[in-house]
């Protein structure tokens, strides 16, 4: 891996962390409405996962999507503007935190009904299979989604049709406040893929490099016509499920234990200790990211509200 790629990964993870911190503040100020699910603690997952994709590869995820959007190439500006419900947001202010997308970047959302996007991912992959285009669909979902029927219908179909899809379970140990042990018949989620004859693996989601490596391997296997693969990425969210979560379901000690292994801190240490970049270079990069996020917030705050007539646009494509 080249130096620049290390710095890119670090850039993405830190940018997500800073964006999410600012989003939490803006939420508390009442500038962001609805729900806000932060990605803090899980940055290494989507950063490592999406790094080896080609522009042909599609990405689709659940509602904890700001980080995934950034990794997929959306700018901090359009993400922040969407959070503020502005016309310049990636979904023109009509989607909000849970419904971000940019089709041109092959990022297909942003889906807020747990598990419902898995059949969609199968369909995206079917599109590439049918049209003989080279894309692989990367579909991310939480551990909670593996207990709903859509998960099982989608995995089954993907195997029956040998679809080019990478199923990625982002196991952050809790579906809202219910731990995996309390909700899932098997706590090792990858075993569910086993039941559908889908090759699978587990990887440490606090280590961006390991995630990147596992993702690259599976993507190339799928691209070679190997059919679906399943990757369980173990991670942990440092914040509540969404803003306003009283977190009665876990102890502060548990959170602190994970925070000691902060994926960003560990990656920073790795870069410096292995002489990939100097601390000065890293600090400069961090300053640039601070500026990028500050600019994004300013852009979002100064952006116009959607025009009133936008209420009635995009209901249908056709005029009847």
């Amino acid at each position: 891996m080249e130096k620049q790629e290390y710095l890119d990964l670090y850039h993405q993870m830190v940018a997500i962390r800073r964006m999410e911190e600012r989003a939490a503040e803006l939420y508390q100020q009442g500038k962001i409405g609805g729900f806000l699910h932060l990605y803090i603690g899980q940055e290494a997952v989507s950063t490592g996962l999406i790094a080896p994709r080609t522009p042909d590869d599609r990405v689709i995820t659940a509602y904890r999507d700001h980080g995934v959007a950034y990794n997929s190439g959306l700018s901090a500006r359009e993400i922040m503007a969407e959070l503020l419900g502005k016309a310049t947001g990636c979904s023109k202010g009509k989607g909000g935190s849970m419904h971000m997308a940019d089709v041109k970047k092959n990022f297909w959302g942003g889906h807020a009904i747990v598990g419902a996007h898995l059949p969609l991912a199968a369909g995206l992959a079917l599109g590439d299979l049918y049209s003989k285009t080279p894309g692989v669909t990367i579909c991310m979902f939480g551990d909670g989604a593996t207990n709903i029927g859509y998960f099982h219908e989608a995995l089954n179909l993907s195997k029956v049709w040998n679809l080019p899809v990478l199923w990625v379970c982002e196991n952050n140990q809790y579906g809202m406040g219910t731990s995996v042990e309390r909700a899932s018949a098997v706590s090792e989620i990858r075993q569910k893929a086993e039941g559908y004859g889908i090759q699978n693996a587990q990887v440490d989601g606090m280590n961006a490099l390991k995630v990147r490596e596992a993702s690259a391997k599976m993507l190339s296997e799928i691209r070679a016509g190997g059919g679906p693969r399943f990757l369980e990425i173990n991670t942990y969210r440092f914040r509540g499920h969404s803003m306003g979560d009283p977190e009665r379901y876990r102890k502060a000690d548990e959170v602190h234990r994970y925070q000691e292994n902060d994926p960003i801190g560990m990656f920073r240490k790795h870069i410096i200790e292995n002489g990939i970049a100097s601390e000065d270079e890293i600090i400069k990069l961090e300053d640039a990211i601070e500026e990028e996020v500050r600019d994004a917030v300013e852009f979002a705050e100064n952006s116009p509200e959607p025009a009133p007539e936008e209420l009635f646009t995009n209901v249908y494509v056709e005029t009847y």
Partner: protein, 323 residues
Amino acid sequence: MARLTMREAISQALWEEMERDPKVFIMGEEVGVWGGTYAVTKGFYDHFGAERVRDTPISEAAIIGAGIGAALTGLRPVAELMTINFAFSAMDHIVNEAAKMHYMFGGQMVLPLVIRTVGGGGRQLGATHSQTPDAIFAHFPGLVVVAPGTPADAKGLLKAAIRSNDPVMFIEHATLYQTRGEVPEGDYIVPIGKSTVQRPGKDVTIVTYSKMLELSLKAADQLAKEGVEAEIVDLRTLRPLDMDPVIESFKKTNRAVIVEEGWKSYGVGSEISARIYEEAFDYVDAPVKRVAQKEVPLPYNRTLEQSAIPNVEDIIQAVKEVL
């Protein structure tokens, strides 16, 4: 013009669209090797092959979900739900995904998806297999809901649905497949979102669609013998709803009966009658009457079932009440 059954008309539309556009394909339960539960896709598998006539597992959420996904990539899937009763297993994908995505992502997602399905009772299939829940689907902005009543409309509307860039629920009726009618050959398109007058008249307006069109036409013939000329407006599309022919007719007759097979409460008739009162109140000479299914789950017993579904007599009776 050829005289075709509804089945043949639908089959012809599908066949021609698949020949015309390689992006069109079919997916669903038993659509391929079996040839379609109602034999609509008989012969398709051998002609178009397994890639374009895709048998699926019994997985309604996956059928519609994958249909949405494939449509997002620019394909034009015709995803088939064996009956509309099974649509409830895919309700989330129809309602929360298909109906919302174009709007919710600011217009960037386009879903040229057709969901072909079959509704209606009268075949002794019991409560779970006999429903007419069309109004439920018509409730959601973002969905197009089409329900043809004649073979010609079935062909023309299905072609329009496949060419539309919006998600379309195309609801056929299980007891109309053998109905015959004149069907124009070749590239015949009936525009979506246009109601039409199927029988001119001056004394009363009957508003209906799908299977109940057939019954309403029979009722009108009998009424004509008694000197009552009913004008029949066929909705054909439930959403977006075209009220113009209804209002135009009502302003002439000042009386209306709405006939639907589904339940009366919160139904198509409720919507149409409300709109008549809103848009043509000054023309009302009699209370608008609704003919609909009795408010019970449909029973298996033939006599009981038939007494729950509207029949020709019910329509004649209702017309006489508004005259």
